[in-house]
Point group: C2
Chain length 135, copies 2
DNA sequence: ACAATTTTTGCAATAATGTTGCAAAAATTA
DNA sequence: TAATTTTTGCAACATTATTGCAAAAATTGT
């Protein structure tokens, strides 16, 4: 766990270790509020903001846009370099349980854009019912 | 312009007409702040919130999720019924000018999900350089 | 292991963003 | 045009995010 921090040139601190733990322990993506309100956590709001920001910059976690004006964060499975995310997989949001899951094996397909548009990065989100919520 | 409101069973008011105007006049998508800060507008923050919400419910505009924790709004080209958006096109965000454009002709492709996942709706966003920002 | 340096944290203050209740104003209905 | 319904704007409040700065913790060099 600490090696992830070390590898990215970050100081090893309690908050960073705990927040990183939360991510590895949770199956889905986490919102800022999930971390802040976590009972066992107990660090300042500001620290959470700054830690998440640092992690994104270092490529440890990536952001997932959602329609409801909240940003989710999830661990980058592949090694993402500083600022350069290989965030090329599809995200799945379950309408039932609300969990957001990285489908690391499902890549975002390419699309043909109209003349003049030059693509750099794509992201795709699918909503529906997840594995666990189906009987 | 007013017929759009009438068609959706909404009272014809100054704010609704003006906000609808803004959307038709702007090529790209608009953020809440874009509307609120618009010089010629001049209505209350709350009115903007409520108007946008009403328009989304009626299917006049649709929301576009962005990575930076802000929601953009854009006109629905096809007729979207109450709550049911045919929001199946790709959105393009220009890294240069920051504008978000609905590529109404580019449909979100289907992807094969892992066993157990049942899709309901998909959204896709491509970032890059838009038509106008290329020389 | 310890002192010096750098980084991180937490607090306070502030800003930005979003929500709710309610009375006045405007729009629709009849 | 009067009665009814809907919408607006204000005020108050709630939530979410940002910044400066001193104290605390972590790292570095010896």
């Amino acid at each position: 766990m600490e090696d992830i921090l070390k590898k990215n040139g970050l100081s090893i601190t309690e908050s960073r270790k705990k927040i990183l733990d939360l991510f590895t322990q949770s199956e889905g993506a986490l919102a800022h509020a999930d971390i802040e309100n976590h009972t066992t956590a107990g660090f300042d709001r500001v620290t959470v903001y700054r830690t998440l920001q640092t992690f994104v910059e270092k490529g440890i976690i990536h952001q997932i846009p959602t329609i409801d004006n909240s940003v989710l964060y999830a661990l980058c499975k592949q090694a993402c370099g500083g600022g350069h995310h290989h965030d090329d997989h599809v995200h799945f949001i379950c309408a039932q349980c609300g969990q957001t899951i990285c489908l690391d094996d499902v890549l975002v397909p390419e699309v043909k854009l109209p003349r003049g548009f030059k693509p750099a990065q794509s992201s795709m989100t699918v909503t529906g019912t997840c594995k666990n919520c189906r009987d």
